[in-house]
């Protein structure tokens, strides 16, 4: 599909995309680590928010800084940085989430020399009034830190525009989720994943326009998919394995929803464009579905998963975790149990590193589809 071309191109070499962007715009590029990054403020500052996912290259340099019991995201990102693959970055933003990211921020600050380093120490609990007040102050502080660090001014008008673009992006992405669910023959999950990965890297104005075109091109019905695939919901941290979708599809499954940091958690929730903008931004990050490193009640994630399974008439769930991801691993037993009570089968797949996991996943997926 030609409308996907641009997204595929970006994903094939995100670093090159950022370098070219920098050359053309003379703008700054700000790396960031998770979907709690209030990208809107970075966009409003004129910089490009660049999601760091790790290129998947072999770890050698990072081993001198991180123990082997750190996840592949943390080690992979540091490896990329130490190897100079992220030399186009002007700074990095670390929203506080898990213990590993918390320490990566320290190690990164001490051993890399990007001009700008920001820790966004957001609240961990998100379900109280005082936490919301604190979240607002974190957003306000981040705005000031960006202004000082990048030597610019973020105006309310600029911020409003950035919020509008981000809402447009999220609306389009949400529409793509809807299309995949109701007419999976129009967009494959692997394609949607490519779009999402590109969305976290591309110039957001350019992205909003490209997404709009893509959605339009997918609104027209096309020759159907005769197969009746097993409907699956994926849940976990971030998906660093593009192959996973192809493997699932070739095993007779179709992903109809996900609860990934690189998926629905990035897409869900909009920001009000009127009123106090900082408060509005804070509210989106407070109210959207939680990452397990945050707290919003003891059943928040289990309930969300069950709701998505029911809403999408899913046949099964695949938990996809990065090995050594503590927050997700702690939630797994109760979420699995909640699914079992509703008669929903599930499977857990831990990704150690991208290279070695493919064959194993293929076998496990095929067995799981058989069972469904």
């Amino acid at each position: 599909m030609e409308k996907l071309g641009i997204f595929k191109q970006v994903v094939s070499n995100p670093c090159q995309y950022a370098r070219t962007w920098k050359q053309q715009t003379h703008g700054k590029v700000i790396g960031n680590f998770c979907s709690y990054t209030p990208e809107e403020l970075i966009t409003a500052s004129g910089a490009l928010p660049f999601r760091i996912l790790g290129s998947g290259a072999t770890i050698s340099r990072a081993d001198a800084f991180l123990q082997a019991y750190s996840c592949s995201l943390v080690r992979g990102a540091l490896e990329d940085s130490l190897a100079g693959r992220l030399d186009f970055l002007d700074g990095t933003v670390f929203p506080h989430t898990c213990d590993s990211i918390q320490r990566l921020s320290d190690i990164w600050r001490m051993n890399t020399d990007y001009a700008f380093h920001a820790d966004l120490i957001m609240p961990v609990k998100l379900d109280t009034g005082s936490a919301e007040q604190y979240m607002i102050s974190v957003i306000q502080k981040f705005r000031k830190d960006l202004e000082t660090g990048l030597g610019i001014q973020i105006t309310d008008d600029g911020l409003r525009k950035a919020i509008r673009i981000s809402n447009q992006v999220r609306n389009s992405l949400a529409r793509l989720y809807e299309i995949r669910k109701t007419a999976p023959e129009r967009i494959k999950s692997s394609e949607l994943h490519t779009v999402l990965k590109a969305s976290m890297v591309m110039d957001r104005e350019q992205l909003a326009a490209a997404l709009k075109e893509l959605v339009l091109s997918l609104e027209t019905p096309r020759a159907g998919n005769p197969a009746n695939p097993k409907r699956l919901v994926l849940t976990g941290g971030l998906c660093s394995m593009p192959d996973i979708y192809d493997i699932i599809e070739s095993s007779g499954g179709a992903v109809i929803w996900d609860d990934f940091c690189t998926g629905a958690r990035y897409v869900e929730g909009r920001i009000e464009e009127t009123g106090d903008l900082e408060t509005n931004i804070a509210r989106r990050y407070i109210n959207r579905v939680v990452c397990p490193a945050k707290h919003s009640g003891i059943y928040a994630r289990g309930n969300y998963l069950l709701e998505k399974v029911k809403e999408n008439h899913a046949d099964g769930v695949i938990f996809v975790f990065l090995k050594f991801c503590d927050p997700h691993s702690f939630d797994y037993p109760y979420m699995k149990e909640m699914l079992e009570k509703e008669g929903i089968p599930s499977m857990l797949f831990e990704i150690e590193d991208q290279a070695s996991s493919g064959g194993q996943l293929q076998t496990r997926c095929e067995a799981f589809m058989e069972m469904l």
Partner: protein
């Protein structure tokens, strides 16, 4: 037992810490009270994290119980592997914290040391030590179906700012309201003043006890501190803890006066970083002692007085937020490195032993940087031991032994 075996080595007897027995008795009494049926004590039970503010619980006559202290007991009694395996069968990954795994498994069986912990009426989770406790306490809140209070203490990578202060201070009030609601009585602020004073006194005494190892020879080692720590963790804010540490301090001063060291010979002085390896305490202690290497200080046991400087004895409640937010584990790796450098200087250490603890990421990630900083700033050798605090499966005796031997060679 034959009469020959009854004859005790007077040299060894002299070096034994006499307060050990008192400590054991006090901890037994504490656990007996905690395990007495609630109808008899009339007291509620709170499970609380090791870094959590326990003082308001004492004000409310709630008995604090520490699953982490229990995790240490599980490790020391070598029940860690069995319980961890049980948790793994429940679906918990073997990569998760071994305290959490063991405690989660223990809750579901009638077993473990002292036959399990008394059931909680509430859970108090302060995330100043790690994000793991949040997930662990969520698990227990679902299991026991009791209220969970989270004291969210933002990590101070480089600073403690006014926004953080406002947030944590507000939560201290929320914490008090939470306790008032559960206990059905109002909070006694006068009593808080008293408990606060006892807490400060206890912390000061504990620091003084730890400081006695500045003496050569050191009257105790960190292996003794690991044992005597339980009191400042569990009974901080009580007269019991103050009295005990007063007598322990007196004993240490007496040992110094008499020139009694814990080791027969003290050639090298070392600092320990991270939690103890509970199931190999004796082995490690003997191993170092055999080389005449004395572990004079550690970052772990001093953690309970690491933020005392932020505490205002006369406004305990008002300074509580800052004290609990700025404990050393809740700060940046470079601040933690400075802390160790200062300890090396203060205790005149010849080397640092790091325990790279698979169970504790916030404590362990960053240790490689700290090693480099120590080498740069003080130029002394360091040793990295790969292990786990309670899960013995992650300990290779031969590997650790080889590393210790090689490390001692570097000290010579």
């Amino acid at each position: 037992m034959s009469s020959a075996e009854k004859v005790k080595d007077p040299e060894k007897e002299k070096r034994k810490i006499k307060s050990d027995k008192k400590m054991r008795d006090l901890m037994t009494a504490y656990y007996i009270e905690a395990k007495t049926p609630k109808e008899q004590t009339g007291k509620k039970i709170a499970w609380i994290t090791s870094g959590g503010p326990v003082e308001p619980l004492h004000v409310m006559d709630i008995i604090p119980v520490y699953p982490e202290n229990y995790g240490a007991m599980i490790g020391a009694s070598k029940m860690g592997v069995e319980l961890c395996e049980k948790a793994e069968a429940m679906g918990y990954s073997s990569d998760l914290c071994s305290y959490a795994r063991a405690d989660i498994a223990c809750a579901t069986v009638n077993g473990g040391p002292i036959g399990g912990l008394p059931e909680p009426d509430m859970l108090i989770c302060c995330n100043n030590i790690c994000g793991t406790v949040l997930k662990w306490y969520e698990v227990q809140a679902r299991y026991y179906k009791v209220p969970l209070f989270i004291l969210d203490t933002p990590i101070c990578h480089t600073e403690y700012n006014p926004d953080m202060k406002r947030y944590v201070t507000t939560q201290i009030q929320e914490y008090i309201s939470f306790l008032e609601k559960i206990c059905g009585k109002s909070f006694d602020y006068d009593r808080m003043m008293e408990v606060g004073k006892l807490s400060v006194q206890g912390q000061k005494l504990w620091q003084e006890v730890l400081d006695t190892t500045m003496n050569r020879p050191a009257p105790m080692t960190c292996f003794d501190a690991f044992f005597h720590l339980a009191m400042i963790v569990t009974l901080r804010g009580t007269q019991t803890a103050v009295d005990f540490y007063e007598s322990l301090l007196a004993e240490m001063k007496d040992r110094i006066a008499q020139g009694i060291g814990m080791l027969a010979e003290e050639k090298y002085r070392l600092v320990w970083d991270n939690l103890p390896v509970w199931y190999r305490l004796r082995w490690l202690s003997n191993k170092f002692a055999a080389h005449s290497a004395c572990l004079v200080a550690d970052t772990y046991t001093s953690g309970w007085c690491s933020s005392m400087k932020y505490l205002d004895e006369n406004d305990f409640l008002g300074s509580l937020a800052e004290m609990y937010t700025r404990i050393f584990l809740n700060t940046g790796t470079d601040i933690m490195a400075d802390n160790i450098v200062k300890m090396v200087e203060k205790y005149e250490a010849d080397g640092v032993v790091f325990h790279s603890n698979r169970s504790c990421k916030p404590y362990s990630l960053g240790q490689y940087d700290i090693q480099r900083i120590i080498q740069e700033k003080v130029g002394i050798p360091t040793l990295m031991i790969e292990a786990d605090m309670s899960d013995e499966r992650n300990f290779s005796e031969s590997q650790v032994e080889t590393r210790i031997d090689a490390f001692i060679e570097m000290l010579k």
